[in-house]
């Protein structure tokens, strides 16, 4: 116990740095995947068949394979197979590759949620807008969008919370996120080796982070309860 107390400041410092990387990947993924998911959703609902088939195939591949494999392929394929290591080395390159993989992966999941949300808004809403002389763009932004958001908040909350934990997969390409930082103390780092408790301790970070997210998303859900 005394030993742990001694090690604690060193470990927390290392975990904080790792968690910062986790949060960075989390927010970059959300910022990229929210709009990209909407584009993919419109693509899959398009009346132009080739486009809708193409997006459906992409969604099938991305949802049908493990994110870990996607990370490996996106990070190593350009360099090892094409002989063109576009990501460069170092933590920056790994972060870029991880961001691209996560954004693509989550955008595909989001797209299905968006699609459900959009199709869940009754056609009558669009028709009412049309007969009132509104344009399709006006109908989307003034009528459909908020009703869609209301519908997708619960399934989105699920995905967002899963994303926090999924970021740990990025250590497969050696991105130094929090679990990577915790694991380092098992192998030996900064004079500590063979310590497994730092790895267990990372769970606290995830738990607090997801607790805050749950509260915020719950508040958003409540805020949208003013209409039905």
């Amino acid at each position: 116990m005394e030993l742990i107390l001694e090690q604690l400041p060193i470990v927390i410092h290392a975990l904080n740095i790792g968690f910062l990387q986790t949060l960075k990947l989390f927010f970059v993924t959300l910022i990229g995947a929210f709009p990209l998911g909407l584009i993919i959703a419109f693509g899959s609902m398009s009346r132009f068949k080739p486009l809708s088939y193409l997006t459906k195939v992409i969604v099938w591949i991305v949802r049908g394979t493990p994110l870990m494999i996607q990370l490996l392929i996106i990070y190593y394929f350009p360099g090892l197979v094409l002989g063109n290591p576009i990501w460069g080395g170092g933590e920056t390159g790994r972060f870029l590759a991880a961001s691209v993989s996560f954004i693509l992966n989550y955008a595909c999941y989001f797209s299905e949620i968006y699609r459900g949300g959009i199709q869940g808004v009754p056609v009558g809403q669009t028709e009412a807008g049309l007969v009132l002389g509104m344009t399709k763009t006006q109908i989307f932004f003034k009528v459909t969008l908020l009703q869609m958001i209301k519908r997708i908040v619960p399934p989105m909350s699920n995905e967002i919370i899963t994303l926090v934990k999924d970021t740990s997969l990025a250590r497969i390409i050696a991105l130094q996120e929090i679990i990577w930082a915790g694991q380092a103390f098992m192998k030996g780092s900064q004079g500590i080796s063979g310590a497994i408790w730092p790895l267990f301790f990372t769970a606290v970070y995830y738990l607090i982070c997801n607790g805050i997210l749950t509260l915020l998303l719950g508040r958003l859900e409540k805020k949208l309860n003013y209409f039905r």
Binding site: V131, G133, T135, K142, Y226, F227, R228
Partner: protein, 261 residues
């Protein structure tokens, strides 16, 4: 000149012919009731008039202006169709109010969006907004909803919702106001309050087309009745003549169910 002329409208979905050669006209200030069993094409006809469906052939004219003629070259641009659409208003069976807006906002929304296209919108923004709000409020008052303006649709009864929907359609001052079974989703008590409002509009000489299953109401309020069956107009004319002395066997059959029950 008739305010509305419909000539030889035809419409098929896949291989089913829903409208077969529909022609009729309507005079300004008159009320036309369309009756007939479900699936006879009444709703599709209204949807064609409101450009929610595109007829396969036929001509639609309002005030002598051809709005639809598949043979004549015409602009298919969204802006053009929107303009034509505004000759008509449509009240839906299921209200289709926008749930995230209050009753007042529901009535104002479309008008405000249209106002943004006016050239003087930027300079007179506040004034225009106030005008639109005053007009919406007075329409809701007319519908007996003065104390319900700030309520959201889910806080209103079905009858109140439908009256908001009527006010919303009236806000754009359409030449012809169409009703698609406006009371079919309401219980008898609420039906009464909606019919009363429509009757008041008829007394004010609002040009209306009403698709309805309320036979007594159709007879009382209409200047002209059309009986549709299987995509055709089987019989039309004065309400008393069509509904009390029908010529066609099918019309008698259809009406018998209502007089007996």
């Amino acid at each position: 000149m008739s305010i509305l002329e419909v000539e030889h409208i035809q419409k098929s979905f896949e291989r089913t012919e829903v409208l077969k050669d529909i022609s009729f006209s309507l005079e300004k200030g008159q009320v036309l009731s369309i009756i007939g069993s479900s699936g006879s094409g009444k709703t599709t006809l209204l949807r064609c008039l409101n450009f929610l469906e595109r007829p396969d052939s036929g001509i639609i004219r309002v005030n002598g202006e051809t709005l639809f003629d598949p043979d004549a070259p015409f602009s298919r641009s969204e802006a053009e169709i929107r303009k034509k659409r505004l000759h008509f208003g449509l009240v839906f069976q299921s209200f289709n109010l926008f749930p995230q807006y209050t009753a007042l906002q529901n009535v104002m929304l479309a008008k405000e969006l249209l106002a943004k296209e006016q050239p003087d919108y930027k300079t007179r923004k506040k004034e225009i907004h106030q005008e639109i709000e005053a007009q919406a409020a007075s329409l809701l008052k007319q519908m007996g909803l003065a104390d319900r303006m700030q309520n959201y649709p889910h806080q209103l009864s079905g009858g109140q919702c439908q009256r908001v929907a009527i006010a919303r359609a009236l806000a754009l001052q359409p030449d012809i106001l169409c009703f698609d079974e406006p009371t079919s989703a309401l219980d008898p008590e609420l039906t009464g309050e909606v019919l009363k409002v429509i009757k008041e509009l008829a007394d004010k000489k609002t040009t209306m087309i009403i698709v309805t299953h309320e036979m007594a109401f159709a007879r009382d309020v209409a200047d002209h009745v059309i009986f549709m069956d299987d995509g055709c107009i089987l019989e039309q004319g004065d309400p008393i003549q069509v509904m009390e002395h029908p010529k066609e066997e099918r019309t008698k059959q259809f009406l018998a169910r209502f007089t007996q029950g």
